[in-house]
């Protein structure tokens, strides 16, 4: 790859600075003993202590993570099978129709999805809380997983499956030893995207929470009415660090599997 010219590097630096400046601004003030986002007084860790002393806030953070992990896992399982189903639809028209329906779900506003879930849950008589949030998060994550997995499936040559059949593989073997290993990067990408969608979703969750169950985005929104306290800054800083760790972990994971692929040999 050609080296970047100097103006290009400067441009890149400016763009990244603009993107990250608000986050660092927020983290910087989480150490402010002054209590507001204007005028830095002294370095303090009291806001971090406040985060760990507020059990309600901690419960909300943990709930948010649980919902994100489980909804991402379940929607990935459903989404991958759905994508495989779609790709093997013989009827072209039908396949396009199903794909369009999937896309409609991605582009339709969260508010509408949230409102319709609220109406559905109250009509069926489901109590609003953990279950309703989990179900709605799974629902809006599935189309995203499908979109992430489809390109991998499309690029997979159908002769791979023919060869496997020739060699005596059963339907089950084809799925678990040919298709899924091939689309594995797509599956992980879909999982991580579903995870982030669930973590930062506000609109849908806002409609379907109730009975004391809240996720972080909904809680911060309510707190912001009376001005954001630096506890939120501290919490955001912690979450930012954890996310950074996750991204780095994902990066090393990818590096390793890329290296494995380079040495050849069948992947498990």
């Amino acid at each position: 790859m050609a080296k970047l010219s100097k103006p290009a590097k400067i441009y890149l630096a400016i763009v990244f600075f603009i993107l990250y400046a608000p986050i660092f601004y927020l983290i910087f003030y989480s150490f402010n003993s002054g209590g507001t986002m204007s005028g830095f007084e002294n370095f303090t860790l009291e806001h971090y202590a406040a985060v760990f002393n507020d059990t309600r806030l901690l419960i909300i953070v943990l709930n948010t993570v649980i919902v994100a992990l489980l909804s991402a896992l379940i929607s990935t399982a459903i989404g991958v099978l759905g994508a495989i189903g779609i790709i093997f639809l013989r009827n072209r028209k039908m396949r396009n129709a199903v794909l369009s329906l999937n896309t409609v779900l991605i582009v339709s506003p969260d508010v509408i999805i949230g409102a319709s879930f609220l109406i559905l849950f109250t009509m069926v008589g489901v109590k609003l809380g953990f279950a309703s949030v989990l179900v709605s998060h799974i629902a809006f994550s599935i189309p995203i997983v499908v979109i992430m997995v489809l390109p991998k499936l499309q690029e997979m040559s159908s002769s791979l499956i023919d060869a496997a059949t020739d060699l005596g593989a059963s339907q089950r073997d084809i799925l678990t030893r040919v298709i899924i290993p091939y689309i594995k990067p797509g599956i992980f990408a879909g999982f991580f995207l579903a995870l982030t969608y669930s973590l930062d979703d506000f609109a849908v969750t806002f409609f379907v929470t109730g009975n004391g169950f809240a996720t972080l985005s909904v809680e911060i929104y309510s707190m912001a009415r009376a001005g954001i306290t630096l506890t939120i800054n501290a919490l955001s800083a912690l979450i930012f660090v954890v996310t950074l760790g996750l991204v780095l972990g994902y990066y090393f994971f990818n590096q390793r599997s890329a290296a494995n692929a380079g040495t050849g040999g069948p992947r498990p």
């Binding site: 059990t55 943990l62 709930n63 489901v126 609003l128 678990t176 899924i180 109730g210 009975n211 009376a226």
Partner: protein
């Protein structure tokens, strides 16, 4: 495939561990006892220590949730699927909820601490006899201003806002009844006026304020005043208190012609599951010491006479936030004007805003 199965198992195990952690946290924050209640309140509108204290004293676990507007709270309650036991809406929301049968009557015999409340705040037009609601906090609408940016100008009258030196300095709160009400008050009319002639006159007067108005916004007012981006704001007393907490230069005044007096109240929604616990909670919040601690934390004006005696006299003697009864006589509570009249107010407010853009 193995990798995927391994990753999935790891996720399930992590989730299970987190579940267990949540369970531990929940049980550590609540002492075992008779059931739980759900409290639905504005964000940052209670001292969290008091919740723990209530849990310790009664053994009832409190599930605490917050909302950001009367409208979203009403929708949640109306839709069902939730079982809030206590909520804290503003007075106009109470009238609406009463009309829609969303409230349960309060049994005053279970709330002995009601006697702590200043009688002035009981039996108000929006809920005669306090059948459905108990006052929680109250406040006024007035002018917050920063004298250091204004060469010492002060505000005694709404008409001071029309001073030509204030060009592009005044922020208004984005709410039809507050702004039109201010126009009506400045002319000496009632802010519950339904006389179309008076309303027209008030709107025409407001239009002449146009050159002085910098912005018509919501909660951002507090930040803008703190950062001294604006010098004058028409706003609620609670927001003014928030500003003064950070920026000590800011002052607050309720104009002499009169203004609005508002209340947030504790109510029991019709969906409540633990009515007995709800009464206990309301009674607890009215306790003199509890109410004093809460008012100290939240910073709004408390209607609890017994609590005021326990509080710092410098705070309770501050006539900007605890106006004397004589001053309060000039203040009016919003009456429910009906949908049609509200439409007229909204339309006139829109007309005023459109006129500003010219």
């Amino acid at each position: 495939m193995k990798g995927i199965i391994r990753a999935s198992t790891a996720i399930v195990i992590i989730s299970a561990i987190l579940f267990y952690a949540v369970h531990l946290l929940e049980s550590s924050s609540a002492t075992s006892g008779s059931g739980s209640i759900s409290v639905y309140n504005w964000g940052e509108y209670i001292d969290p220590e008091l919740i723990s204290q209530f849990e310790e004293e009664t053994g009832i676990q409190v599930i605490y949730e917050t909302f950001d507007s009367n409208e979203s709270m009403m929708t949640k309650i109306e839709q069902g699927g939730t079982s809030y036991d206590v909520a804290m809406p503003s007075e106009y929301a109470i009238e609406k909820m009463k009309e829609n049968d969303l409230l349960l009557p309060i049994d005053q015999s279970k709330i002995p601490n009601l006697e702590n409340i200043d009688p002035y705040f009981l039996d108000l037009p929006f809920d005669p006899g306090n059948e459905y609601s108990i006052p929680y906090f109250w406040g006024t609408v007035g002018i917050a201003y920063n004298p250091t940016l204004l060469e010492g100008q002060t505000f005694e009258s709404w008409d001071d806002l029309w001073n030509p030196t204030l060009e592009q300095e005044v922020i208004l709160v984005d709410s039809a009844r507050e702004v039109i009400g201010m126009g009506l008050n400045s002319l000496g009319y009632s802010l519950n006026s339904t006389d179309l002639g008076e309303l027209r006159e008030a709107t025409d007067k407001l239009k002449t304020l146009g050159p002085n108005v910098k912005a018509i916004i919501g909660d951002e007012i507090v930040e803008m005043m703190r950062r001294e981006e604006a010098a004058v704001a028409v706003t609620w007393s609670g927001q003014a208190a928030d500003m003064m907490w950070i920026n000590e230069d800011i002052d607050y005044a309720v104009p002499e012609e009169g203004s609005n007096l508002w209340f947030d109240n504790m109510i029991i929604p019709s969906t409540a599951g633990n009515v007995d616990g709800a009464h206990q909670f309301i009674n607890f919040m009215l306790d003199a010491e509890v109410a004093a601690q809460n008012a100290d934390y939240v910073g709004y004006s408390s209607p609890n006479a017994a609590a005021l005696e326990l509080m710092d006299p410098e705070v309770t003697g501050d006539e900007r936030f605890y106006p004397t009864e004589e001053m309060r006589d000039r203040l009016e509570v919003y009456e429910n004007l009906g949908l049609e009249m509200l439409g007229v107010y909204n339309e006139l407010f829109l007309e005023f805003k459109m006129d500003m853009e010219k």
